[in-house]
Symmetry: C2
Subunit: 436 residues, 2 copies
């Protein structure tokens, strides 16, 4: 490997005894913390130049990157059972190009640091405003997809935040290489060393230790499955914004346009099933099940989707596999779809409240009143009318970018863009005002 | 006591064995959780009517309230050492009137639930917007000041949130009475039972148990001292927005207007020393120390403020007590002021970075460049130029109200008003859009 990220273990020869985990983590995060003041004060043009240099370096070193990814893929293996996971892990020239393009998109976005939306004057004459400032050090703990490394580094840099990145062990070679290329390129452009910090030791004990570094890390953003979320809930003394599972539903109403419903269902399920905003359960109004379901099932089958149906679904589709109770509320992340026929929208909304993860919920209908009621009453990060759940995404929503889709209720909910990576401070321009 | 809040222990006769703490807390918070759906769907006019009824009831029952407060004050005692704390605890007719007026102010504020600041159209034609929705159940853990009970209940109700209130044991009679009056009045106006929940058992084990109820409570807002914050950091599995100590500085620059500096310092220190936004340390530029300090010291002494000075301060003020290292970074919450003479603004900003709690920081200067630099480089929830630190407050800033001053960097920082008590959901109005 030609390029390496700036990590503590670099300072040791490969022969020497590795540092104890707690010391390794402490050195890494305290170095990261030391980069905050310089990073927060960098000009927008310096940050932008660094982003362009980073994008260029990724493409220039794509051979190195593909070789590292190949090592990860070999170690991971590809059985039919983990095909979706392998798909998330795989890098190609195209995906590297997309990563670089993603970084260039971030370069074009407005710098959120220093933004002030309004300033108002109080009766006593003092002017009050709210200015966006970096959060500080953001720890990002994620699984599988190596593009998260590049996305996270670019978004944190643009928003003036130091990032401490911890990827999944299955992508360790890909991630180490990406982070190394980006850190090196950013430093060439004037970004302080430590601003892009990658945790390059795969030991399982690293994460619990990382989660206790509240003196050095201001926010943890985890992106992954249930076991990661449980680990973090148990150990973190640092504020957390979760990027948790998506158990997303599409409810096809009695008054749905049949061809629109079919197109949305195919897209929501099959366009990229391994993502958190893919549909996992289809809820279908009973009055249109017999006319819509057979045609929809044919299209789903053509897209290799396995249907697991409720008893009524199995009556309509004689070859459908019966759904078990566990199939509802399950994040398949694969070409599997649970289907349930419901009496009415109330039953659909109750099902969503009971089994959904409050991530993304959609209705297909031509009825105005039911569309408005669904929007108002369904509780989720994003609620859509007549659109695919797959559109719940920072780019698609026009935020310019996203570091993920928050399933927390605090600070940010739904797609999290650059602005959500900052916090605010109040500023007051006075002329001698006192409290009376 | 005539009025009682709706709590589990009400259901037991006073003779019977009390419930184990874990069962008591679980019953209380699960009842609170059950109130969320109805509360979230209440109309603004119902919520407003409830607030007016609550304000009226507080005033109508002020005798009952004063009697309860007297019991707390007797138990607390008043030695010179805890005079500031006793001041925070004391209720008077005037303060009860202020509490009621505070609730009526909340009634007049716009309802944040359902607010949508902008809606935008994407190139594919779908419209995307962000709607404010209640957070859910908010647990508020606080010390001393009984008005927090009324403020919190009113703000949570207006923003559609259920509150679970846990006050300090020293104010248990005052708080139980306030919460009881408010819960009863709100229910008369159509608010579901449980929406204003008060934890009426003072056992120390209650808080750790409360902090694990992440299935039922969505957010914890603690308002208190260091030991409370440590307890919460150790035990909470629920997201927390801290309302922590304020170690606030005023830096009087070389180019300060002397009479403005004096007025701001007296106000920041002495107007209400027991609050988190009172000045604790004065930083004074060396070039004006000899001219400003003697006159300022006379005014501070007239306001009964004890000065603890650095060696240079003690040279100028021969009767000043020398400051110890522990006096810097200390939240006195009393009529005590640490004073330090600094070489220049850089030394002042370094002192603030080292000893401050990032709560409220102010500069007094007529120099434009230094004012702008101080605003940009000092990291705090509020940074003020030529205004008293005491103005860092939701009412003073025009937020209409505040539930406290957040010292967290996430979700809300500085005064936290109604909008900060909500989260958002994205809504999408589509016409068949798919992800490409």
């Amino acid at each position: 490997m030609e390029t390496r990220s700036s990590t503590v273990s670099d300072q040791k020869s490969e022969e020497s005894e590795p540092l104890p985990i707690s010391e390794y983590v402490r050195e890494l995060v305290s170095k990261a913390q030391r980069a905050t003041r310089k990073l927060a004060s960098l000009s927008t043009s310096t940050k932008n130049q660094a982003l362009l240099t980073m994008a260029e370096a990724l493409v220039a070193k794509s051979d190195e990157l593909l070789a590292a990814n190949e090592r990860d893929l070999e170690a991971f293996g590809t059985t039919p059972g983990n095909k979706a996971m392998a798909d998330r892990l795989r890098l190609t020239e195209k995906r590297i190009g997309e990563m670089a393009a993603g970084i260039r998109e971030v370069e074009k976005l407005p710098d959120p640091v220093g933004m002030m939306s309004t300033m108002w004057t109080r009766p006593n004459g003092m002017q009050v405003g709210r200015v966006r400032v970096p959060i500080g050090v953001i720890g990002i703990i994620y699984e599988s997809r190596p593009n998260v490394t590049a996305d996270s580094a670019a978004l944190c840099l643009k928003s003036g935040n130091v990032c401490v990145l911890r990827g999944g062990s299955e992508a360790i070679h890909s991630n180490t290489t990406i982070a190394g290329i980006l850190a090196e390129a950013s430093e060439q452009a004037g970004v302080p060393s430590g601003a892009i910090t990658f945790v390059d030791r795969v030991d399982r004990e690293v994460v619990p230790v990382l989660l206790k570094q509240d003196r050095f890390i201001d926010l943890i953003i985890p992106r992954g499955g249930e076991s990661l979320m449980t680990l973090i809930a148990e150990h973190s003394t640092i504020p957390v914004i979760k990027h948790d599972a998506g158990v997303c539903h599409v409810y096809v109403d009695a008054a749905a346009d049949a061809s629109m419903a079919e197109a949305i269902c195919i897209n929501a399920k099959a366009q990229r099933p391994s993502t958190c905003n893919a549909m996992e359960t289809l809820l279908l109004h009973q009055s249109i099940a017999r006319t819509l379901l057979p045609k929809l099932a044919t299209s789903l089958k053509a897209a290799n989707v396995e249907i697991r149906g409720c008893p009524k679904t199995c009556q309509v589709l004689s070859d459908a596999k019966p759904a078990s109770e566990q199939d509802y509320g399950k994040e398949f992340l694969d070409l599997i779809l649970a289907v349930k026929i419901v009496k009415n929208m109330d039953e659909a909304m109750e099902h969503i409240a009971q089994y959904g993860s409050r991530h993304t919920e959609a209705i297909v209908t031509t009825d105005y009143g039911r569309a408005m009621r669904f929007l108002k009453e369904v509780d989720a990060g994003a609620v859509l009318v007549n659109a695919s759940t797959r559109l719940n995404d920072g780019y698609q929503f026009g935020l310019g970018a996203e570091i993920g889709i928050s399933t927390s209720r605090i600070h940010a909910r739904g797609p999290m863009g650059l602005e959500e990576l900052t916090c605010s401070k109040f500023i007051v321009l006075g002329s001698g005002q006192l409290r009376e």
